[in-house]
Amino acid sequence: MRKPLWTLFLSFLLLQPAMAAKKIYVVTTLSTYADITARVGGERVEVHAIVRGNQDAHFVRPKPSYAVMLQKADLFVSTGLDLELWAPTVVDRAGNPKIRSGQPGYVAAWDGIKLLDKPTVLSRSEGGLHIYGNPHITTNPLNLKVIAGNIVTGLEKIDPASSAYYRANLKAFRDEIDRRVFGDELVRLMGGTLLTRLANQGGLIDFLQKKSFKGKKMIEYLGGWLKEGMPFRGKTIVAYHKNWVYFQHLFGLRVLDYVEPKPGIPPSPKHVEELIREMRAQKVRVLMAANYFSAEKVHDICAKVGAVPVMVPMGVGGAGGTGDVFSLVDYWVSHLKAAFETVNTKKQESEKR
């Protein structure tokens, strides 16, 4: 009676590390990449992120634990642009040759994404300048499809046997993003690939307004986040930092100016004065900022011009109710929409008086 139990226990001890070792150990810089990796990798990966959703990915103080994580890593996912400036140092320190840039264990998330904001003048005097283009690629949910593809390519290199499994997960993820962005009906009618291409070119809404199907304008079939974002399409906001260019591109949002005069440089009095004057003149009533910036400054400016602040996390898990990429984008869109609704009710109230 005792013996079988004892052997069972022993076999557990022996099996468990073997089973754990089979999992691919993935380290990502951003929490958003970690969520995507977990989705496409399923139970065959173990994922850890370095930057939390409410942290500024530009400035992370390297800690020993990062090096320890990276030492064990089979796969390392970073944006690959100059977003995580600290990443090369940490990778060097970890002494893990598998995950160096250019090695099979390294994934550059941005690969294949058309970068916006490519600089025309290269100079550090322009502030925290991104010489390749804007690196905040995760703010457009369509980019997440490309990122997921890059991660799957990375996983396949390490674990070719599971390729079909990863590909199936990737397809499911991409379909889900398409349906969330454009709505089920439109994806069924037109397919995600065409919709994505049109949206990336910036001509989707025009296209939908011109075309019709079964006697109804295509735009009436639109659903998902784009539909939810129609109230603020074409509207103007002020942003704190250039975090949102990819989001703006998808949702047709315009940015009048930034609180930071140049990316990464704190605002000076003159700039704030001009910003406030501009906001009053142009009647811009919404200020959007990542929630790692000073809430006080954002609220202060908003109070001066009667604007509504929208402070949202940049990454997954950066605020309550943003546990995965879908709820994160939900959070952005719904908060922005709510802000514009508040502005409208305020306007109506003041008109009534």
Partner: protein
């Protein structure tokens, strides 16, 4: 001044005035006691308090954070009053410096556990005087007045200990108790001022007016007047400079303070030295040396800049695809296609893309040149596309060809 300018600089201006009032006075004590870095250390204690409060989820600008930082600063005051020894082998400055370093290190360790850590630390250093609120200024005025009155009534004891501690001991004063009271009042002031002005600005406000006035005169009331006058002028000018040249306000005022101190020192040097011509010559030599150093560093910088530029990563030029229909909108694509009358090129383009919508456009043009071929392709799309909208489009294109 325009209304907007006043909106933005007004609060900062008044805050600076209030800071000048109390800090110029306390600075005199600090210099006389030779505890220059006490404010840095106390400020760091206050900052540590804010940070610890932050860990409990208290926002750094609220009342809760204030009590946290005040509590910690008073703790620091207790440490300093205990660390003064009658016959000092260990200078008090060493203890203060050490306390500063420890408090700063612990603050970084603590903040590491909280989000936004790095931003918060940076903010403590440079402060955010530009963002100060009127209500904060009102509170500061009250607190500082209270401290001022406190010091006015107890000025004899405080001054005696500051200027001549040996005599104070001889009189049988409880120096430790008075020290604690002094540092405590200091802590109250610092707690507020660091919260708005930042560590750098507060340090300069304490030290520069005091040094300047002590250089000029030994009489207390004159020292005070000089300190205040200088503080007001420098703050206003610094703030204005920061506005005109579009610089961050706190650091601009700090740098301007430094410049004024240097100028005053030079003028005093010339006035007081026996041979004025000789003094002027010395200054001239100094200027020339400075200029040389600047030129040297400039050359060095240029050299490395040129070298780095040489090494800089150059992006490979993207080969211009003459024809990538996937990067064009419908209008442009139609225009481009209508200029092509080479059937085999159109066929190539057709097979290069998998985008059914583009294929329809290409097939449409193909049909204009070769109706049979075009119709075949459209028919294929209509049959095989899984998307109703695409099938419909293919059908429409076929109908157009028929006409």
């Amino acid at each position: 001044m325009t209304h907007d300018l006043w909106d933005i600089l007004g609060p900062a201006f008044f805050e600076l005035l209030i800071l000048v009032g109390i800090h110029s006075y306390l600075g005199l004590h600090v210099i006389k006691r030779k505890v220059i870095f006490v404010d840095l250390a106390l400020a760091q204690f206050a900052a540590l308090g804010t940070t610890v409060g932050f860990l409990f989820g208290i926002m750094p600008t609220g009342t809760g954070a204030y009590w946290f930082s005040l509590g910690f600063a008073i703790l620091g005051a207790a440490v300093f009053s205990l660390s003064r020894f009658k016959n000092e082998k260990i200078p008090q400055e060493a203890v203060i410096g050490l306390t500063y370093a420890l408090a700063a290190a612990v603050a970084i360790l603590v903040i590491d556990k909280a989000p936004h850590g790095a931003e918060h630390i940076k903010e403590l250093l440079t402060g955010s005087i530009l963002w100060v609120k009127w209500s904060t200024i009102g509170k500061a005025a009250l607190v500082y007045s209270a401290v001022g009155i406190f010091h006015y009534f107890l000025r004899h004891k405080f001054l005696l200990i500051s200027e001549n501690p040996q005599k104070a001991y001889a009189q049988g004063l409880s120096v430790r108790l008075w020290d604690f009271l002094f540092y405590m009042s200091f802590a109250v002031v610092i707690t507020h001022s660091v919260g708005t002005a930042g560590v750098l600005l507060v340090f300069v406000f304490l030290v520069v007016p005091a040094i300047t006035s002590i250089m000029i005169t030994d009489v207390l009331w004159k020292q005070l007047l000089i300190g205040w006058g200088m503080g007001v002028v420098v703050s206003v000018a610094g703030l204005y400079i920061s506005y005109v040249y579009d610089l961050p306000s706190g650091p601009a005022v700090v740098a301007f303070y430094g410049l004024v101190l240097l100028l005053v020192a030079l003028v005093l040097y010339v006035i007081r030295s026996a041979g004025r011509g000789r003094a002027l010559m010395n200054i001239l030599y100094g200027l020339v040396t400075l200029l040389l150093i600047v030129v040297l560093f400039r050359a060095l910088g240029r050299h490395y800049q040129a070298r780095d530029a040489h090494h800089e990563h150059k992006e490979p030029a993207v080969a211009e695809e003459a024809w990538n229909p996937e990067e064009m909108d419908d209008g442009t694509l139609r225009e481009k296609l209508s200029a092509v009358s080479d059937v085999s090129l159109l066929d190539k383009l057709y097979h290069r893309t998998e985008d059914a919508h583009i294929r329809i456009l290409i097939a449409g043009r193909l049909g204009e040149l070769d109706p049979h071929l075009g119709r075949d392709k459209l028919e294929e799309i209509r049959r095989e596309s899984p998307y109703p909208f695409i099938r419909e489009e293919a059908l429409e294109a076929m109908n157009r060809l028929r006409k």
